[in-house]
């Protein structure tokens, strides 16, 4: 048995060497100029990540001297921890989450924006008697894992004159659409307007959305790129080039939406679903046109909002939360 294993290992090793031999030979001259970056997505690949997939596919990263590896996490609470621990270079996260994590002392900083509007909505079935958020009193609301989800929904409820004690919060751990369609909860919060609405429609159920920025929560960047503050200076140049590639990919997607969809689904056959196609077109208007640029006021306003709600212990200065790589 052992001998067989050894033989197999030997064979595998030989194969690896043979397979990678030509690759080494080919890359020998340009590896010196290539910077590798390991970037972790916030969740499994979906149209929100389009600029990254397209930049990878059409060679924008390569043109900027970057060798980018995109990885999906097993659990969305993991990426920020891995960035803080220095295991990956960059991760996609959410602006509200960043404020909480910086307050908890994680050495994280925003280096770019992927989606420049909130995507978060509270979603109910269109055939339910919930016409506005006021009607949520006495109802159950499903939410996904998220440290900040509870704060946001509480704000939205209070804004509509509903006490948070009057609703039952159910953690449905990412099964947002099934829980709502199966009528196991009356509403879900933390759903994404570009994806979950399309997913519901696909199942033949019309949804009614309440938009977070219209319900008393200050507007924010839904998806951001975060990096480790302690190693930022060493990687600043690579991150700047990364944002440039993402910007080019975004512009290309906006100019060629249909061709973009074809390219996106070609990257992984599993992405070719009707829901993703709908979500693709829903997401295009929401990409940050200038990913590196920082809207500082937005971050300061949100930080004040969280302090007011008692969700953070102290106010961090803007420089601790975010950097603007577009500044020369």
């Amino acid at each position: 048995m052992l001998r067989l294993t050894r033989r197999l290992m030997g064979a595998c090793l030989a194969l690896v060497v043979i397979a990678s031999g030509p690759a080494w030979a080919a890359n020998d001259d340009d590896t010196s100029k290539m910077t590798s970056l390991k970037v972790m997505l916030d969740w499994y690949t979906n149209p929100s990540h389009a600029p990254l997939v397209i930049a990878q596919q059409r060679g924008f990263f390569e043109q900027h001297g970057l060798d980018v590896e995109l990885v999906s996490p097993a659990d969305p609470s993991v990426p920020p921890k891995l960035v803080a621990a220095g295991k990956i270079d960059m991760a996609i996260s959410y602006q509200p989450q960043l404020h909480l994590q910086v307050d908890q002392g994680l050495p994280l900083v925003r280096v770019g924006t992927l989606i420049a509007t909130p995507l978060n909505i509270t979603l109910v079935r269109a055939d339910s008697d919930i016409e506005s958020m006021e009607d949520l009193a006495g109802k159950s609301i499903g939410y996904s894992v998220g440290g900040v989800e509870k704060v946001l929904i509480d704000t939205m409820l209070e804004h509509n004159g509903v006490s948070p004690e009057d609703v039952e919060m159910v953690n449905v751990n990412f099964a947002l659409t099934p829980a709502l369609i199966g009528e196991k909860v009356d509403a879900v919060t933390g759903a994404f307007r570009n994806f979950e609405l399309a997913q519901m429609a696909q199942e033949g159920v019309k949804g009614r959305a309440f938009y977070i920025e219209e319900e008393g929560v200050p507007t924010y960047d839904e998806l951001i790129f975060i990096a480790n503050r302690d190693t930022l200076d060493a990687n600043r140049d690579a991150y700047t080039r990364f944002m440039a590639a993402v910007e080019e990919a975004t512009a290309w997607i906006i100019n060629h939406p249909d061709e973009g969809w074809e390219a996106f689904k070609a990257s992984d056959p599993a992405l070719d679903t009707p829901v993703n196609k709908k979500a693709w077109y829903n997401t295009i208007p929401r990409f940050a046109l200038r990913p590196a640029t920082l809207d500082g006021r937005r971050y300061e306003t949100f930080e004040s909002f969280l302090l007011e709600r008692g969700q953070i212990k102290a106010k961090s200065p803007l420089s601790r939360l975010a950097v603007d790589l577009s500044q020369p």
Binding site: G105, S140, V145, G147, V170, N173, A175, A179
Partner: protein
């Protein structure tokens, strides 16, 4: 005093591990959100006592209800299988197939059928417990020494009596190991259910603590679960020993 004497080696082992863990955290300076120190866990435990006990109460109810229903169901199934030969051909294959289904994969569907309340968690715990109890008990019932059965036949016992007076007591050692296994698996069932979707319970608390980077609180919840699992194991063990005073347990011979 005698209790202390019996358990001090185990206690010593646990204290050693905790000491090592604390030292590891202090020496490596690993941040709290990656691995909290035992002290931090204890502090979280003290700070969130009310919260922890409230959610623990919910989970304990789910576990105990699941254990009870699962054991009764498993025992009933085993007895029915032993008594009615016709059932074996239909029920036994189903039982075997169902053993091979990873229950974790069923959990999300269970939630959608039964909602996010307690029922789904109890069903989950019941399912996890039911199969080991049913299969170990059935195996035990089949392995009655032939001599005893012959004796019963000679004394004119009918089939029902033979099953309840001879085969069932003879199956108790096998059933005991099934029950012990079930007792340690019961908390897993309830927590899997809570993990998939819930509004209360230790699993719910752990999910939220994880998302909020309160890893120390997560460990505190875990500590309660482990303690309860161990307590449940020993309670079941003691109960089963009580039930079969004739059965020699060689582990006890040393004390």
């Amino acid at each position: 005093m005698s209790v202390l004497k019996r358990f001090w080696p185990a206690l010593f082992g646990i204290v050693c591990i905790l000491g090592l863990w604390q030292a590891l955290v202090v020496i490596t300076g690993v941040p709290g959100y990656v691995l909290p120190s035992p002290l931090a866990v204890m502090q979280a435990f003290a700070a969130h006592q009310q919260l922890l006990w409230h959610h623990a109460g919910i989970t304990v109810i789910e576990i105990v209800a699941g254990l009870f229903i699962g054991c009764i169901g498993g025992l009933g199934t085993a007895l029915a299988l032993a008594r009615f030969h016709g059932l074996r051909r239909t029920l036994l294959p189903i039982l075997l197939i169902s053993q091979a289904v990873p229950l974790f994969a069923l959990a999300p569907i269970l939630m959608l059928w039964l909602g996010y309340g307690m029922t789904a968690k109890i069903v989950m715990a019941t399912l996890i417990i039911y199969f080991p109890v049913a299969s170990t008990c059935y195996d035990g019932l089949r392995q009655t020494p032939q001599g005893w059965l012959d004796l019963a036949q000679t004394l004119g016992a009918d089939r029902r009596r033979r099953l309840l007076r001879i085969q069932l007591p003879a199956a108790l050692p096998a059933l005991a190991s099934g029950m012990r296994m079930a007792a340690s698996a019961a908390p897993i069932g309830a927590v899997i259910g809570e993990w998939v979707g819930s509004s209360q319970g230790l699993g719910y608390l752990m999910l939220n603590a994880n998302a909020r980077m309160q890893v120390d609180l997560m460990f505190a919840a875990l500590l309660i679960l482990v303690t309860f699992g161990v307590a449940l194991y020993f309670t079941t063990d003691a109960l089963m020993r009580r039930l079969m005073p004739w059965h020699e347990d060689r582990t006890g011979a040393t004390s």
